[in-house]
């Protein structure tokens, strides 16, 4: 923990937000078409329909905003999940949320030809919920209750199951493959601002819930018994937390497809900066998550110039060493 007093934490958070804005800006100007700062300002103050202005307004800006929203949501969802399951390896992708949502969307698209954005979002919620509940249930059976290891294994198995079912469906219908493959890779590129706007309300509700219940989560992390002893209705708090996670994780998948490892890395980074108080961890996770995904997305443009790497691949390459590091530490909280 680097920052101790509330004042320094507040300053840290403000600096974080400034960095978030800076990276948004970098995300707009960096890439295959290099853009000067002056052009960016012009594109908003005095739009002239030039190629560069169109790129800024239709491609770069939505992309930066989506990366921010998705990164923030995944970061917060990860922090909530790690608190809820008391498992430092928990994150939306490890616990099968992404695979469940992907499967649900592919089924809806192929078998029921659902294409409307709203419906897709709700279907992603549904899939994420089912997979999450399955993993939660499987991870909690047995005498010693929910252990990080059982939970992670159950998540891996459920993810493998849903992934193979999705794969099977896609092999049967190649036209659907083309529609979905782009989305399945996990990317914030080429999505329109409307997609973000359609899902943003759910993400916002998720974030508001997370911030509102953060002091309850502090008590919950002391353990079920202590929380009950202090008069908390733990079941209620857990349900609300779960709802928030589903809104955040499901919403992110609906926008950007499965992007892994943000949810696992962010809370650990945040805890090493700002300590264990969830009233600080939640906003910090949002900010750090946004910065991390923006950075990964900018990096993804340069690895294979002029082609782009889906950002999901970048986050996996960055995140795996981190995951292994935590696994080696024996699943102790940072």
């Amino acid at each position: 923990m680097v920052l101790h007093s509330n004042k320094s934490k507040l300053v840290g958070l403000i600096i974080g937000v400034l960095f978030l804005i800076l990276f948004n800006f970098l995300s707009i100007i960096l890439g295959y078409t290099n853009i000067t700062i002056q052009t960016v300002i012009d594109a908003f103050t005095n739009f002239n329909g030039s190629n560069e202005h169109i790129i800024i307004q239709d491609v770069r800006l939505p992309r930066a905003l989506i990366a921010t929203a998705v990164g923030a949501s995944l970061g917060i969802a990860g922090a909530l999940l790690q608190a809820l399951t008391r498992n430092p390896l928990a994150s939306p992708d490890i616990l099968g949320f992404n695979a469940g949502a992907s499967f649900a969307i592919v089924v809806a698209l192929m078998l029921f030809s659902v294409t409307s954005l709203q419906a897709t979002t709700w279907i992603a919620f549904g899939g994420a919920t089912i997979a999450g509940l399955l993993v939660y249930f499987l991870g909690s059976i047995g005498r010693d209750g929910m252990t990080p290891i059982k939970m992670t294994l159950a998540g891996a198995a459920i993810a493998a199951l849903f992934a193979s079912l999705t794969q099977g469906l896609l092999v049967m219908d190649e036209s659907a493959l083309e529609q979905v493959l782009f989305w399945m890779a996990g990317s914030v590129q080429g999505r329109k601002l409307e997609i973000l706007l359609a899902v943003l309300p759910y993400l916002a509700i998720g974030i508001v819930i997370a911030i509102t219940i953060s002091n309850k989560i502090n008590i919950l992390t002391m353990g079920e018994d202590v929380a009950k002893g202090l008069g908390q209705r733990t079941m209620f708090v857990k349900l609300i937390t779960g709802l928030s996670v589903i809104l955040l994780a499901g919403g992110s998948v609906a926008i950007a497809g499965p992007i892994g490892f943000i949810g696992i890395v962010v809370p650990h980074v945040v805890k090493s900066i700002a300590g264990n108080d969830y009233r600080w961890i939640i906003p910090y996770s949002g900010v750090v998550g946004g910065i991390l995904l923006l950075m990964a997305d900018i990096g993804a443009r340069y690895v294979l110039m002029p082609e782009e790497v889906p950002v999901g691949i970048m986050t996996a390459i960055i995140g795996t060493p981190f995951f292994i590091y935590i696994a080696r530490k024996g699943g102790k909280l940072a």
């Binding site: 459920i158 049967m172 082609e307 691949i313 996996a316 390459i317 995951f323 696994a327 699943g331």
Partner: protein, 351 residues
């Protein structure tokens, strides 16, 4: 009836102890494999009865019929069997050295390592017209190297005052995610990206196997299999745990390492020709262990045969039931294997 029968030859210089029950199961499954084999030869758009299929194989069919059987179905079926055997034996060996029933080569990333290597191999050694610039004979070697690198990484990263099997599985899951990402990355770089085949291959399919594939894979599998059978006594000792193994005088680390190489060799050669057919290495040894117990002299042959049956069945169903669409064998093995994995997890809940 006694439990064992002994076979002695050359004035008792060579002797075997045969477990009657295991022998019986092995014969039963071998017959079952034969039946599935004949049915599979007969199934397809051109349907033959198993008896007719048998006759065609003996050469008593029209030239059209023998073309279908000899050139199209046989190589594919043989590859299925060889791949099934390799994966099952590799899985059994891994479960012994890691002393963990959940150590399936797929979940701990070894299959993934082989996939990365194959995709990278195709990306590096292809020219503009998507033709390979080096012989395809090198592909199993690439897959073997990939699988071995992941296995060694896994071993090193999970090592911390000894090897805890759960830490091993956790680190393995992490490596699995990494290999998935790298495979996608190299698919984007390389020309395989253009081929719609890539997706099918990653899922695991024996689609498009030909005789030259069989010629490459068969000797590798047979040699590795023989080595595996020779090493069964070391395997049995490995399963007793480190302390006992050391106590009875096993050179533990050296044997463990050579067994690890053996299993990565089997996995690599299987993945090179069939992609990631998942969960066979998990299921086959488990089913075999349920039937004949965990002595590897009995376990290895039976799990090899069960592995062959699983892959062959999955491929036969995949290429016939949903005609005209082909479903990769890997979809079926994962659809059965993942719930099985969950069931194992459930059984171990109080361990």
């Amino acid at each position: 009836m006694r439990k064992y029968a002994s076979v002695r030859a050359f004035r008792d210089r060579i002797s075997f102890l045969i477990d009657r029950k295991a022998f019986l199961y092995t014969v039963i499954f071998l017959l079952f494999l034969g039946v599935v084999f004949l049915i599979s030869v007969g199934m397809g758009e051109q349907l033959f009865s198993p008896w007719k299929a048998f006759n065609i194989m003996l050469g008593n069919g029209s030239s059209f019929e023998s073309l279908i059987v000899q050139s199209f179905r046989m190589p594919r079926i043989l590859i299925s069997i060889l791949v099934g055997i390799s994966l099952a034996v590799a899985g059994a060996i891994l479960q012994a050295i890691l002393r963990n029933p959940l150590a399936s080569p797929d979940v701990i990333g070894i299959t993934g390592g082989a996939s990365v290597a194959v995709v990278l191999f195709l990306a590096i050694f292809s020219n503009e017209s998507n033709a390979l610039t080096v012989s395809i004979h090198w592909m199993p070697l690439a897959a073997f190297i990939g699988a071995t690198i992941v296995a060694i990484l896994l071993y090193l990263l999970a090592w911390k005052n000894g090897l805890s099997s759960f830490r091993l599985v956790l680190v393995g899951i992490g490596l699995w995610a990494l290999t998935k990402a790298l495979t996608n990355l190299f698919m984007i770089i390389g020309p395989i990206h253009q081929a719609a085949q890539a997706n099918v291959w990653i899922t695991g399919s024996v689609y498009g196997s030909n005789w030259s594939n069989v010629q490459i894979l068969a000797p590798i599998t047979i040699v590795l299999l023989l080595i595996a059978f020779i090493m069964t006594r070391h395997l049995n000792i490995q399963e007793l745990g480190e302390d006992i193994a050391l106590g009875v005088g096993a050179r533990l680390e050296r044997q463990r390492f050579s067994l690890l190489l053996l299993s990565t060799g089997l996995i690599g050669s299987a993945v090179a020709f069939a992609g990631g057919i998942g969960f066979v290495g998990l299921m086959a040894p488990h089913i075999a262990r349920k039937l004949v117990g965990s002595s590897f002299g009995n376990l290895l042959p039976l799990s090899a045969i069960i592995g062959a049956v699983l892959v062959l069945l999955a491929d036969t169903i995949g290429r016939t039931v949903f005609l005209p669409i082909e479903v990769p064998a890997g979809v079926f093995t994962a659809a059965i294997g993942a719930p099985y994995f969950i069931y194992l997890l459930y059984r171990q809940r109080n361990a």
